[in-house]
Symmetry: C2
Subunit: 116 residues, 2 copies
DNA sequence: GGGCGTTATGTTCGTTCGTGCATAACGAGG
DNA sequence: CCTCGTTATGCACGAACGAACATAACGCCC
């Protein structure tokens, strides 16, 4: 197998004109689920807490039922967890990206071959 | 058939950290092919000629062989055309998006159902 | 009660992105 | 030769974005 150029295909799902979910939001959800904290997830992605918080806000507003549940308080007190809806959306997005990626490998390869 | 919420899935192909081709660049290529002019394509997309020109520049540099061929001069004189490579890449991208879209409909639907 | 780490929110600042405007060279056609 | 519409390029301005900082309230744990 030849050394592959670092390439990737990524999926974004829009509703109206705005992004419903894409790679960034998905990774954030994943990390919130893993770490149990928006702040820690933000640090892991090297993004400001402000922005991570805004993304969560936006997603919670965008979906019928919130994807992330938050409670204030530190040191084991508060934090953030994925709701069942959050887990479902995250999993569905991962599925979608996986299916899309495998289905498009042939044409994508035709493009990659032409890249420098 | 129920009135569908205006939704879309879109594909972006990255090389290294940068976008090789995505919806915007693809549409630009398409319009250049149709109109025979970067300027007119830009107007059709309601984007500045400056930006369209920069995108073409970037794509031509990114691929082994240029996607768009340009010649100066107006009034039927100059203009821009897709090279064979340009047509090939555009077609491959359309294929990729189509395949990706059909393959991911099921999980995507699971997400859309949860959207407000 | 004090400390720690979290959510929540405002404000400021720098950078990035894209547009708009100006200019130049070019090329066909009347 | 002159006009028109294009490619090509610089520059300045504004908008949008995201980071960084500053607080505040909250909740567990020692």
């Amino acid at each position: 197998m030849k050394k592959p150029a670092k390439s990737a295909v990524r999926l974004r799902i829009y509703l109206g004109g705005e992004v419903a979910i894409g790679p960034g939001r998905a990774e954030l959800l994943q990390l919130i689920g893993d770490t149990g904290s928006i702040a820690e997830a933000a640090r892991a992605m090297e993004m400001s807490y402000r922005r991570a918080w805004a993304l969560v806000q936006s997603m919670n507003a965008l979906f019928k039922s919130p994807l992330v549940e938050r409670t204030a308080g530190g040191a084991g007190g508060g934090g953030a967890r994925l709701t069942p809806a959050g887990r479902a959306v995250l999993e569905a997005y991962a599925d979608a990206e996986r299916e899309a990626r495998t289905a498009s490998t042939a044409p994508v390869r035709r493009i990659l071959r032409r890249l420098r």
